[in-house]
Symmetry: C3
């Protein structure tokens, strides 16, 4: 039903091989095994839960994969309007030959069985990548990930640092750090050394980014050596019960140190700004986080000025922050707009956020999209949603409103979709 | 001039009989008597005032209905672009056979006279409901409303609680409470008992919701028995001049108690979040309130977690809060999106707010619209504005962008427009 | 590629002669001399810098105009997607006969030479006005501008007051004030007298507005005579190092005094709300400012109530504030919406901001656009961008969605584009 112009732009964008610059794929187990790996994605469990399905029923540890899928199908009717549901149907059609537009009691079981047989193939993950037109995906690795046993050109490591910045008060995090680095962390000097070991390990293994997700209240600033020593002493002694001021000082200094390491090791530092964790603590797994949209990039003013050589691909959780993101990317050479994150990853929001970035940010400084997928099968439907919106925006705001040629629009879309991933993360 | 597809979707939505889940209709005097009841609506007086008409001229108590309409017609030219003006013309055309598209010196007087004759008919209110395709409307009842003398199936009671939560410092409010409940309010135990009597009274009389409008700074939290006793003592003694901390503690505890009663009596609790009262104190009647858009639903985190069995249909005054509303409804089972309120009740805002809700919130958890009308004649034009926008969004984001069938789009729209009102408020 | 309807609306809007109600034109040197005056505009230097061009290269004082243009052309490729780039191409096509859609190494030099010859004509500025269909432009004059040597009907003075409100702590500002007014500023009485002299000077010279740009944290309130005397004493003694509370008290009182003078001299007071200066201090000239979008018009509640006879044309920097702006203009008689400022001056933002104003604010209280230009050549492409968007919004939201006639839509657009500039600023 879309115009022929939009369809042509879309088709040309769809032919571009993708590099997905942010996922949570497990490279040792990248594809799904049964439909439960698809339907168990938090988008379906949390939406079904929100629509009335009890958590106990969803998260019952005693049931089989098949039974769990059966239960979720029962609870999923009320969410068939959502864009997330459309990803599910896309996957079933694209990979498993499903022909309907809704999964229900009448058809899910046959699909479960036939798809399970397909996924059992040893080459399934590669088959998914091939059919999705995807060359490689970025990972989200814990800092103590050995990064072993997979092809880091296809599954590109990325150092995730939330634990270091926000959870070093927990003894188990410090123990993991010491185990991973062989550095005993008793002083700031040692802690800094340990962080350096992590960067050495990651960059040696083809890591292409450092990344972190950040609550709306965070406003990083430099912390002196003396202050961080005091803070670290307190945290080593009292852990998560340390005074808030000590925990904050330590967080800020570790964060600052990560930026220094990114500078030294020439890694982009992905900032994902705005999430409040555990707002709904009795929600389903991964369905408990929300946000306060009252956040500003002015909180990052000092950081952006202090590290002119570090590239900061920035994602924002709330669409209201998108204009600031575009404006900061328009002024600061080291700010790059990055994808459409989580609660902003729905069509009407992407449409307006993308439209503004495209018109206001240098074309070289926009990473159009990442899938944030946990299983490979989700890369294709999510990127396809984005490509359709990108085609719509290019059609309406460029070819129609600004009289661009179709070729010029496609060239621009291609750069945002693929080219800038290569240049920003130095993928050859 | 709209597409045939959009017109077909619209026509099917227009055939759905409506239940209006929030109005300020007086059930004993529901329809209008002369055009002054239409033109006296605050939207016209405040916009005419904003465009230059002095308040004294508008609110002169010495003039007749007809003279007041004549004066307003003189001042209303500069607002003929607004969507509110379009409701006025819709009413004049729909109910009174008006054929123009602007009211002016040349035509208002004839219309005043002919419409007055029509409205004098004893069955006028029912006629308006019939022509508007409306089955029933929810009311906004003061807590001491006797709820007598009308059909509560057609005019559904709703307990409005602003006075209890925000104005109990005023002696007249406490006197009204004591008079309505026959409970002498000298202690927290008694105050709580009095509130219980109100819920008993309202639910016995078919009330279907408890409701409140809330300033942006409000952040409810539980208050202990000891603390509320101290606060109430202070407020009984010093009234509205009590220390701010006492007034706040009492507000919070009464609010919390309302939520407990909603749980006990199985009433949804409508929260209308974001209004600052009296920002422009010399404005016309009901044209003095504005807002601060810096508000977050994170302020309601504790409440939403504490009352999992209470349904909270939430309205937000500023469009910037709409994404949070959709996200909270996507995660919290007890949050339902509710209508498009006041300063967000204009087409371009509704279009983007509705588009995001439709794509991100379970289809069962969205109440599309309420009219907020003071007179029955406004239900039809306001809902019609919404239906047209809903048809536009369903056409563009679903049938065109996502290849939905027209039937599926209409079914979805119908649920949002009508079905969810029935299920949320338990209308049989 | 736009519809015929939209083109017809646009053509009719394009035939309206313009008055530009806010620019930074130098009336003694209004047009450009070479392409460097065009390409040196901060939009191009800051975007090229953001895309990777070093500031030193851009701002090298040792190079010629032509060499600078050559350098900028080298760095400008990555911004050819931006709307700002489209203004550049529009200028080159409109005024200099350029026929391409991109400036590059192959064509800039010929254009530089041929355009320089054109601009050398003594009547160039008038020629630009004529070809741009512009009758007059408002200026932004320093408070000590002699306002001499130009036709104030064509170049309309406007008193810019940022220095008075925010920089009176600097000795050079006080010296400029004393030199301009012949009043020695040693007390509040004298300072107030000096401000009065400025208003006398400006209104005598056909000034049509007082204007100021304001940071997001500003929340003006009245300050007593005693308090401002203390504050001024401190500031006269310690300058910019005075205690923050003294600087703020003085700012607030001067600001309040400007409003009083606007009342007395019947000047509109343009408020441009939301800019943080120097966020990126190592950015290029005029490319260092950004913002915090967390600002509310509730901060201006006292002011708007205190000065009912002063018209406040208000611009907001962040689009999120646009709904508040429209709501405040809908309620307060003295608030007028004014243009689309700076970071909100891009098509997708203007489209949604304008759509909401048009539907919610009295038609007499909306100033559609101003160019903010530093050189006359920019007035035409910026207004043309706006006219195209205005035509799009009128087509879609009025003629299509609301069944307005084309004539009515054009009439409304014309008032917003031109008529309201005349009435608001009393241009005969
Ligand atoms: Zn992620
Ligand atoms: Zn209401
Ligand atoms: Zn300006």
């Amino acid at each position: 039903m879309t115009s022929e112009l939009r369809q042509r732009i879309y088709q040309q964008l769809a032919s571009v091989e993708l590099i997905d610059p942010h996922t949570h794929i497990n490279p040792l187990d990248a594809g799904s095994h049964t439909l439960v790996d698809i339907l168990g994605y938090h988008y379906y469990t949390e939406l079904a839960h929100s629509a009335g399905m009890p958590r106990e029923q969803i998260e019952d540890p005693a049931i089989s994969a098949k039974e769990k899928v059966g239960r979720l199908i029962e609870g999923i009717g009320p969410i068939d309007n959502t864009i997330q549901y459309s990803w599910l149907i896309d996957i079933c059609q694209r990979f498993f030959g499903f022909e309907g537009d809704r999964l229900d009691a009448s058809n899910w079981e046959a699909l479960f069985d036939s798809s399970e047989a397909q996924m059992a193939d040893a080459g399934w993950s590669d088959e998914v990548l091939r059919r999705s037109n995807v060359k490689s995906v970025f990972l989200t690795n814990d800092f103590d990930d050995p990064l072993a046993g997979f092809d880091t050109a296809k599954y590109v490591p990325c150092l995730r640092t939330d634990d270091l910045v926000f959870h070093l008060g927990k003894p188990e995090v410090r123990q993991r750090l010491e185990a991973a680095t062989k550095v005993s962390v008793g002083s700031w000097t040692e802690l800094r050394e340990a962080i350096g070991v992590l960067f050495e390990h990651f960059t040696t293994n083809n890591a292409r980014a450092c990344a972190i997700s950040i609550p709306p209240s965070f406003a990083p600033e430099p912390v002196s050596d003396g202050r961080v020593e005091t803070a670290l002493d307190a945290v080593l002694k009292d852990g998560v019960n340390s005074d808030e001021s000590h925990l904050r000082a330590l967080s800020h200094r570790i964060f600052w140190t990560l930026a220094e390491m990114c500078d030294q090791y020439e890694l982009p530092f992905d900032l994902m700004i705005g999430v409040n964790r555990g707002v709904y603590p009795t929600g389903v797994f991964q369905g408990q986080d929300l946000y306060d949209s009252r956040v500003s990039l002015i909180q990052y003013q000092q950081l952006l000025n202090a590290f002119p050589r570090v590239t900061f691909p920035i994602s924002v959780l709330a669409s209201v922050t998108n204009q600031e993101l575009a404006s900061y990317a328009w002024i600061f050479p080291n700010v790059v707009t990055n994808g459409h994150w989580w609660y902003s990853n729905t069509p009407s929001i992407i449409e307006r956020d993308a439209a503004h970035r495209l018109e206001a940010v240098p074309r070289t400084k926009q990473i159009g999209y990442y899938s944030d997928a946990y299983k490979l099968e989700f890369v294709a439907p999510k990127f396809d949603m984005y490509r359709k919106i990108l085609a719509k925006v290019l059609e309406q705001y460029y070819v129609i409103d600004r009289s661009w040629s179709e070729e010029r629009a496609v060239e621009f879309g291609t750069q945002v979709l693929r080219g800038n991933v290569e240049t920003t993360f130095k993928i050859s």
